[in-house]
Point group: C2
Chain length 489, copies 2
């Protein structure tokens, strides 16, 4: 892909879209020449680059290329010279864009690609005044440009076919997903759908049927979660999950009482239903409906878990539900036994490309077992906020035999030792019906005070339970691998 990556690009316009392009290119190691109308917009672009830098640090652990440079230039011609791509992101006024694109086309070398970020103006109109209009293309991105992968590519009447290929290579090289819009239409594809939603949302507000917040919440706790995974049509396909796409699509004949203020709708003729069904089958490619349903579910789980880590939207709902589960979890021990984490099955998406469960999953299982033990010794919500908790400072994981998807495993946790600040645990993960452990995890935890955030003794009630548990567990056999260190075998 490196071949497609330009050395330098010229950007016209430094608003939310122009700034987003600057951020994406610079973080991908491409030099940017920016022509923006005001010094305030340069400041905003710097801010967006900082936001993008912050986001990319989370997005990947891999080293990013050295950042490209940002050069603010004083004219369109200065931005367009000596670059492989000029990307215009001015406000969506036809006259203004035509003028900018024409100026850029006169200054740029004839082989320089020229793209417009227009949200909906047709490329044939945009290229009208240009020199060498064959290298003009619409390349419509989405805010934030540095994170969302889609770029809609649309050619005008006078665009040369190789222009599309070159643009596709460039946008792929900076991490995007180019989608060819094969026909010129105002708004291309995504913005036509967005505008329909926008109009209906406006009616709901206008008619006092819902507030802005109610509308947004109705989306992000439901259909919005699906949209990150599947588009609107495949979503309907799975709502009537029969094997015939035709029978499924027939069910969605728009009703006589429309559930929208927007009433224009194509007639559901047999030929039209067939067309929908054929395209839907082609889209599903070689996945059956049950396979698609499982893929959808796995992706939804991944999205929900991502949002849970952010404590946001539907992730907050999930966290609240888990809090309920935790509060209601039964305590299954009688003192002198090791604490037992209930039997659970290894899901197939825990298996990596090597056929193994990744280390972090073991850490998760043992961390969960530690959580159960901490609750058992009295660390509840109140203790956490007032007095603190235990934190692992050392962990020794050993994988002794491979686990397969579907294996049922349980974790036993034994206290190996404790004093008023430290707690040493030994977790043993065993497959159902095996007598040898499949993995072990030894952990040293220290008590960290909630206020000072420093190591300090546990409160009396917790300390007593810890020491009592340690006394009782001292009578259990000592695990063979306790205290082991790593040696070359």
């Amino acid at each position: 892909m490196s071949e497609g990556k330009p050395r330098a690009v010229g950007l016209l316009g430094g608003g939310v879209i122009g700034g987003g392009w600057a951020a994406r290119f610079i973080l991908n190691g491409v030099n940017v020449r920016l022509y923006g109308p005001s010094s305030r917009s340069v400041e905003r672009v710097q801010k967006m680059i900082a936001n993008a830098r912050r986001a990319y640090r989370r997005l990947t652990l891999l080293p990013l290329p050295s950042e490209g440079s940002l050069t603010v230039v004083e004219s369109v011609a200065d931005a367009a010279r000596g670059v492989e791509l000029v990307q215009e992101s001015a406000p969506d006024r036809l006259g203004l864009k035509q003028q900018l694109l024409a100026a850029a086309s006169r200054a740029a070398a004839p082989e320089t690609l020229i793209c417009s970020s227009t949200s909906g103006l047709r490329p044939s109109l945009l290229q009208a005044e240009m020199d060498h209009p064959e290298r003009l293309l619409v390349a419509h991105p989405f805010n934030p440009v540095y994170l969302l992968p889609l770029v809609e590519l649309c050619a005008g009447h006078r665009t040369a076919p190789e222009t599309l290929d070159r643009a596709t290579a460039i946008f792929r090289a900076v991490g995007m997903h180019p989608l060819l819009v094969r026909n010129e239409v105002d708004g291309f594809i995504a913005n036509r759908l967005q505008e329909a939603v926008w109009r209906e949302a406006l009616w709901l507000v206008q008619d006092n049927l819902a507030t802005v917040q109610e509308i947004d919440d109705a989306v992000r706790y439901s259909i919005g979660l699906r949209r990150a995974v599947m588009g609107p049509i495949q979503t309907y396909r799975l709502a009537v999950p029969v094997s015939s796409a035709r029978r499924s699509m027939e069910q969605f004949r728009p009703g006589k009482i429309p559930w929208t203020k927007l009433t224009e709708v194509p007639e559901f003729t047999d030929a039209f239903i067939d067309k929908l069904a054929e395209q839907s089958d082609a889209q599903a490619a070689n996945l059956t409906i049950p396979e698609l349903e499982q893929k959808r579910d796995d992706c939804l789980v991944a999205v929900l878990q991502g949002l849970r880590a952010q404590g946001y939207g539907a992730g907050e709902t999930l966290a609240r539900w888990e809090k309920g589960l935790r509060d209601r979890a039964p305590q299954r021990t009688n003192g002198s036994d090791p604490l037992r984490m209930p039997m659970r099955e290894i899901p197939c998406d825990w298996i990596d490309y090597n056929g193994h469960v990744s280390e972090s999953r073991y850490l998760e299982l043992f961390g969960n077992a530690t959580g159960i033990l901490l609750r058992y010794i009295g660390i509840d919500g109140e203790y956490l906020s007032k007095s603190g908790s235990y934190q692992a400072v050392e962990t020794h994981l050993s994988r002794l035999r491979g686990l397969c998807a579907g294996d049922r495993v349980e974790v036993l946790t034994q206290v190996l030792g404790a004093d008023d600040k430290c707690l040493r645990l030994f977790h043993t993960l065993t497959r159902e019906r095996d007598d040898q452990p499949a993995a072990t995890g030894e952990q040293m935890l220290v008590h960290v005070d909630a206020q000072s955030r420093r190591i300090g003794p546990a409160q009396a009630n917790v300390r007593e339970r810890v020491l009592e548990l340690a006394r009782m567990h001292a009578e259990l056999p000592r695990p063979e691998r306790a205290g082991a260190s790593i040696e070359l075998r």
Copy 2:
């Protein structure tokens, strides 16, 4: 929340929605009495419960309550007796629903809550024929019901206010996000928006402007990713991120050339723009626009990473971009030095509620350093698929001092020993300007053959590089904590 959870519910209808309700209730420990018309539908419900079980195992590591029972009953009356809630999910035909709800209302105790899953019929019409219509409510969920949290609650003219409170408690207790639809309108909120999208999508297909797949891809690689995080209105608010909501909303006056076939639209009067702006400000609550932008970015990163793990949609685009980064990553070592992972900053969302970086992040950083070393010794894509790779079987993590958000850290990796199958590494994580390590990670890796998936010697070229690196690193000072075991301090 446990208070809200019913002991048993009666479900009318065993299609995609009824089956989804059965799965959600049963996995949350609620007994289900199901009245479904056919034995085929019972089979489908069993299948959905199995899918939900699979999904919940990924969703949480916490122990789920003991599953509720599924009892298939032969009549509406049988489903409605002795339960706290009757949930009707028959096809969306008014007459059919009225009849089922009336029958349920005659059989159920007067205090039994009765809800309809209708996608869009008004509750005042549904309660027309019922005994005790004051306990009827629309509770409209979304497919898959066992995963998506939203349930739209809508009362009819004759619904009692406490009915809403009781329903809210029940749906919350099984992990849902109830949203009160304050006014009766066909399609409630989410489905009005969905139907508008559906109509526009149908026009795009009808007019040959785009295929089903192109439409779905245009959504899931762009606006769909935002929808999981924010609704359509706040998305527009951030597209013009000025501090005045009024100035932002003004920009979205629907155009004279509509980018949709659906042309009805409210007039953008001053009063209407003010209303939008006030509601938008209320929604943002105490977050500024830059704060909202960062929250949006963090959530988008989380969603993209979730999809990356699934290798699906926008996650596939991210994985392809990372492959490019990996292929282009410079090798920064000259043989006898430890391998150096480039300096990086600790992002603030790596910090947990205790103010600490979680253990799995250390594992990620050290795993990444191992990945860089493996590439250095010649394990590339071809080697991976043909010959195999190294896998960590033992890891000893030690956290020696706390890390804060913004700390810049680097990882040095030293080979402590190797033979033809094993590789022992020692990672040292140091903060910029510190001379003592902040954390260490010792790892034993074994070479696993790609075909047999068993431990076996590395191929000659890799083996030679490993042994050479081990010879050179043998001259480096031995890290103080190498070979350490866990001891009670």
